[in-house]
């Protein structure tokens, strides 16, 4: 992974990697996200917490390009960018892992890691022959580098445990790292048991160390405080506060989630 990523090579390397300014999005009469500002620094893990319907997922989908904002601006490295489709965000180095993981249970681990980006030989594009051995070799190397314990890259993903599936989804998201700068994760540990979620947490910590900024939605407050650098609290579509994960407590966090309070600490 490319450390000190400065993809556009512009001079504004002091600017945060990603900035959202005044983002609004309504669904009918429901203000899902209202006037939200976010800053994401390089190599940072930013947790996003809040009740159901607080706007966390919508905010993330706006960054991923699958939901478009009604108003507001998005900047990367201080430069305004246009994100209207998932392809746009991917081109900017943003990968999102959805709650359902979007894995192919009928395909094996290597096929899932490389899906849509398979190396081929011979004929061009879709009629090219898959380089199966290379995909298995590279997928195995990737899993090993990320310390992911899966017996074989030839196992169909459908037979894996929830934690292993989550890790395959993470491996896929970071596999083509040269381009990746931001990883968005929606509830990575929602469906996992304690041991599994600890393993996944460990993996997330590891990939951040490689120069990747991560935004994580989670309901498990202690876990987020342990993992994230800063935690952003949302309520009813608004940005309530951003807390330093080291100096805050679970109680303070929960109070803000339940009660809500004006964002006195300034923008995230």
């Amino acid at each position: 992974m490319n450390e000190h990523a400065s993809p556009n090579g512009n001079g504004s390397s002091r600017a945060p990697l990603l900035q959202l300014r005044g983002i609004c999005r309504s669904f009918g009469h429901v203000r899902a996200v209202h006037e939200v500002d976010v800053d994401l620094q390089r190599n940072e893990i930013l947790g996003i917490v809040g009740d159901n319907g607080a706007g966390k997922s919508t905010l993330m989908k706006i960054i991923a390009g699958t939901v478009s904002p009604d108003s507001g601006r998005i900047l990367m490295n201080g430069e305004p960018v246009e994100i209207t489709t998932a392809q746009d965000s991917r081109r900017l180095g943003i990968e999102m892992i959805y709650q359902d993981l979007a894995l192919f249970d009928n395909l094996d681990v290597a096929a899932n890691v490389f899906i849509g980006r398979e190396p081929t030989r011979g004929l061009p594009s879709l009629l090219g022959f898959l380089e199966r051995r290379r995909m298995h070799r590279e997928a195995a190397a990737l899993l090993e580098r990320l310390n992911i314990m899966i017996g074989s890259t030839r196992l169909p993903v459908g037979v894996l445990s929830g934690g292993q599936r989550q890790m395959v989804a993470i491996a896929r998201a970071v596999a083509f790292e040269e381009n990746n700068h931001i990883l968005l994760m929606d509830e990575p540990s929602a469906a996992l048991g304690a041991t599994e979620s600890a393993t996944v947490t460990e993996l997330i910590r590891d990939i951040r160390g490689d120069g990747l900024s991560i935004m994580i939605i989670s309901h498990r407050i202690p876990e987020v405080l342990d993992l994230a650098d800063r935690v952003m609290v949302m309520k009813r579509g608004e940005h309530v506060a951003t807390l330093d994960a080291r100096s805050t407590s679970v109680e303070e966090c929960v109070n803000l989630i339940v009660a809500g309070a004006p964002a006195a600490t300034g923008q995230a």
Partner: protein
């Protein structure tokens, strides 16, 4: 597929073991089907002196070849998350088109090529209806079953006519002792295995059928894949249709009646699934040989054709029940 989730952190089996387990999962149904085929063959051989003669085996193979070709198209469509009930009627339209053209003096090869072109067009129309109008493939191709049957009857005025041979019945010939349709079987099998199991397009077809939403997120054009797979299936319907017409040597609008039953039973026995993303050319081949042998043996035991239909239908139910079995087996 059975879930054998590995607990996290637990010592994981060695790579070789895991690979073997994956292979078992994929081949499990084929092995069972092969055993069933051997048992079936043994039973028929014990009851019928004629069953295991080279003459009869060639007959089974000849029948299998045509069934296999259209069943392979059916398999592709299932893998991509679709369904095609119109295959029998499609074959009928193709067959009567080729027959009528030949009767009208069109050269043999051209008549057959045009028949195949009609098959491709039928497949394209199926795919177009399913993707453009967002109609459930069950409804769309069920409607097409009747539309095409109607077309076949209009073309022939509802009459079956026997054709003078003049080379039309080449599907009955043998080359080097091998029935001509078997060469088509080999060509279709090789093309399909290569397309499905070695190319990026084949891999993506499995993806599109296995999880269409995730396929879209991975920037695949799901509709274009489905249009393509129906068109390739149409090509196979076309080839099977002209081979069947050639085998019968007749213009017969009801020639492919009940083929949906035989083809679907064979394909489901071969491990493909209605839920999409699963199936293989090899599995379909074994399934087709099984159904052909079943049909052949029952007919020779003088079982009434109506009973044969019931037996094949029951085999389809068993195949799908096996596929849908709850984890841990039936209670």
């Amino acid at each position: 597929m059975t879930a054998t989730a590995t607990p996290p952190g637990a010592p994981l089996d060695s790579r070789a073991q895991a690979a073997a387990r994956a292979r078992r999962l994929l081949l499990g149904q084929h092995v069972l089907l092969l055993i069933a085929l051997i048992l079936l063959g043994t039973y028929f051989t014990s009851r019928l002196d004629f069953f295991l003669t080279s003459q009869n085996v060639l007959t089974i193979l000849r029948f299998s070849a045509v069934t296999f070709i259209v069943a392979t198209g059916f398999t592709l469509v299932l893998i991509g998350g679709g369904l095609d009930l119109s295959i029998g009627s499609g074959m009928a339209v193709v067959g009567v088109t080729a027959g009528k053209l030949f009767e009208a003096g069109v050269p043999l090869v051209l008549a057959f090529v045009l028949g195949v072109v009609v098959g491709v067009a039928i497949g394209f129309v199926n795919g177009f209806i399913v993707t453009r109008f967002r109609i459930n493939p069950l409804i769309a191709t069920l409607a097409m079953l009747f539309v095409l049957l109607g077309v076949a009857f209009i073309i022939t005025d509802g009459r079956s006519t026997q054709l003078r041979d003049d080379g039309f019945r080449f599907a009955r010939e043998n080359v080097g002792g091998v029935p001509v349709p078997v060469f088509f079987l080999i060509a279709v099998a090789v093309l399909s295995v290569v397309l499905l199991h070695t190319t990026k397009a084949g891999r993506h077809l499995f993806a599109v059928g296995g999880n269409p939403d995730a396929a879209r997120q991975a920037a695949m054009n799901v509709d274009r894949f489905r249009l393509g797979m129906y068109t390739v299936a149409g090509l196979y319907t076309g080839i099977a249709g002209v081979l069947l017409a050639s085998d019968l040597g007749a213009i017969a609008p009801n020639s492919a009646r009940n083929w949906e039953l035989y083809v679907a039973t064979a394909v489901f026995l071969g491990g493909a699934s209605l839920t999409g993303g699963r199936g293989s050319v090899v599995g379909t081949f074994i399934g087709v040989v099984f159904v052909s042998a079943l049909d052949n043996g029952l007919v020779q035991m003088a079982v009434r054709p109506q009973i044969v239909l019931i037996v094949v239908g029951a085999a389809m139910i068993l195949a799908v029940a096996f596929d849908q079995r709850p984890k841990g087996g039936f209670r």
